[in-house]
């Protein structure tokens, strides 16, 4: 079944079962590998994308439910093909160990900075709670978000 999606500013069409999670279509059909498959159960946040600007688990969002809402992935945050301020801050702070969670972390953090450009440490921790990191790079992630907010 052909389903139209709006991804990273462009209209795309995918041919997939309507119950397919958005994550699979982004990675397998649209070759957007920013969002990762972590748990597939909406528990870990590795698959986080923006849906109309709101951080959303794409692994539990069937494409039938997306409708005309706009999807943004890590790739969609690039500015003129270069990392945006937040992405660059993650690079500068070397805020990754294995890096698997980082795309989701960036997407989650971006929604915070849009709503609250200068968050406190507590606000950052609270906002980032849905996203898990197994390597324990939370201190680096916190530094990166603060650097981008400075």
């Amino acid at each position: 079944m052909t389903i139209a999606l709006h991804v990273n500013g462009a209209s795309r069409e995918v041919n997939a079962d309507p119950s397919t999670p958005l994550l699979y279509v982004l990675r397998n059909d649209l070759a957007l590998h920013g969002p990762k498959f972590g748990c597939g159960l909406g528990q870990c946040g590795a698959c986080t994308v923006h849906l109309d600007g709101r951080a959303t688990f794409s692994c539990v969002l069937p494409i039938a439910a997306v409708g005309d809402r706009k999807v943004t992935t890590l790739e969609g945050l690039l500015e003129d093909g270069k990392p945006n301020k937040l992405q660059q801050a993650f690079i500068d702070e070397q805020a990754a160990q294995c890096g698997y969670c980082i795309a989701g972390m960036v997407m989650r953090a971006q929604t915070l900075l849009r709503a609250n450009p200068h968050p406190t440490d507590e606000e950052i921790k609270q906002h980032m709670r849905p996203n898990l990191c197994r390597c324990g790079t939370h201190a680096g992630i916190l530094r990166a978000i603060k650097r981008a907010a400075a």
Partner: protein, 424 residues
């Protein structure tokens, strides 16, 4: 002559009414004390107090917005306006630091504060009045040994005339029964212990019993189901809607962990109740379970005998809704008898889906079930930001039709709107 007698009589009656009204609403002030030193606290009594405070779920209402336990200030919406829980830490200026044990006991038994003011029955003294002197003493010792937290509580925002505290005396006259429970000799010691905790400090009926127009529990419908913070508190008596009848053993596991394999996860206000009961003694939780299970024993409603195992075929469902169910829900809520890492049950076992109203099902979908950081437990992501209201409405109707043989819900849209208004 006759007129004079009538007038005098009327004045007399009025005076008696005023005097007895005053007598009813006037309570002496207990002199302020200096807070007892916590260094002298008896550890055994403190431990008992901690356990009873957990069973009483005290920290759920008496919590500060900052999360400080017992510091109060949490807003409690009621049909009569908003009430703010009081600070029950031993802070002298803003808490109960100047309260003697006698003052504390009077608050628990009679709903009157240290200075003699009526307390609103949002503080469930209609239940706490049943606590023994020893238990009230232990609670007092436990609370007085908490760190004093300075926290000024905002004034209540109640509708006229309920904002006039002496009105509460009339409520008490109608609804407060201060008698202690007499043990039922025909029942086991465990059942009697359970009844004492459930009817007293546990105050289960505060949510699970319907309330009358004056906000008092309807004694004739005890445990027939009530409401709590927008959620439906399901019936615990023979009106239970559970797909499988609850046994005492299952209840004990559910109450102390927040989850059971055949019943699912605690959600909404019940989450904190189960977290607290996880800190209570297993013996007391078993007693509570024994009593609660007895409330519905023998119900065996034949309508509940065979909930559809793998789901009813649902005619007239838009293909999109079935696809959303398969993609968003069925990965965890499968029909394979496999709860997986999210501890999700087949919805054929879900009480929320079987309840008469959709309040709980809608709220669980919107808010999810937050992961516990202190213990393993069920988890569900919040779908309030993933699915649209219309999708959730269709999904709820679909799940109701597929997994129960109950009549369709008619309140889904209203419940979504109400839950969204409250921040879901």
């Amino acid at each position: 002559m006759r007129l004079r007698a009538i007038v005098l009589g009327a004045i007399g009656v009025l005076l008696v009414a005023i005097v007895s009204g005053l007598a009813l609403t006037w309570h002496p002030t207990f002199p302020p004390i200096s807070p007892p030193s916590s260094a002298a606290t008896d550890e055994r009594v403190f431990g008992l107090g901690a356990e009873l405070a957990a069973i009483g779920n005290c920290n759920d209402c008496h919590v500060a917005n900052s999360g400080t336990p017992y510091a109060g200030g949490r807003s409690l919406p009621t049909p009569f306006g908003t009430i703010y829980s009081s600070n029950i830490t031993p802070d002298v200026a803003t808490g109960i630091g100047t309260w003697s044990e006698a003052a504390f006991r009077r608050a628990m038994r009679d709903g009157v504060d240290r200075e003699g003011r009526e307390l609103y029955p949002a503080f469930p003294y209609d239940h706490f009045t049943k606590a023994t002197d020893d238990d009230v003493h232990a609670l007092y010792v436990y609370l007085m040994a908490q760190p004093a937290a300075r926290n000024v509580i905002p004034p209540n925002d109640l509708k006229f005339p309920l904002n006039f505290r002496p009105m509460v005396a009339g409520w008490k006259l109608l609804f407060l029964r201060e008698a202690q429970l007499e043990p039922d000799r025909g029942k086991s010691a465990e059942w009697n212990r359970g009844r004492y905790l459930v009817e007293g400090l546990g105050h289960c009926g505060a949510c699970h019993t319907p309330r009358n127009i004056l906000g008092a529990e309807e004694r004739n419908s005890a445990y027939a189901g009530g409401t709590a913070e927008g959620w439906n508190a399901p019936p615990l008596n023979s009106y239970t809607v559970a797909a499988q009848p609850w046994t005492a053993k299952q209840l004990a596991e559910y109450l102390s962990t927040g989850w059971h394999r055949l019943h699912g996860a605690a959600a909404g206000p019940m989450t904190d109740v189960t977290r607290n009961l996880g800190r209570a003694s297993q013996q007391d939780v078993r007693a509570i379970a024994t009593y609660i299970a007895s409330l519905s024993s023998g119900s065996g409603n034949p309508k509940q005998a065979a909930p559809p195992k793998a789901g009813n075929p649902v005619a007239d469902t838009p293909a999109e809704v079935a696809a959303i169910y398969d993609g968003a829900c069925a990965n965890c809520h499968n029909d394979r008898n496999d709860v997986g890492p999210s501890k999700a049950l087949s919805l054929t076992l879900s009480s929320a889906v079987r309840e008469a109203g959709s309040a709980n099902a809608v709220r669980v979908v919107l808010e999810g079930i937050p992961a516990r950081s202190d213990a393993p437990g069920a988890y569900m992501p919040p779908f309030g930001g993933i699915l649209t209201d219309q999708q959730i409405e269709l999904l709820a109707a679909y799940v109701r039709a597929r997994y129960t043989d109950q009549s369709p819900w008619t309140d889904i849209r209203q419940e979504i709107t109400k839950a969204r208004k409250n921040g879901s």
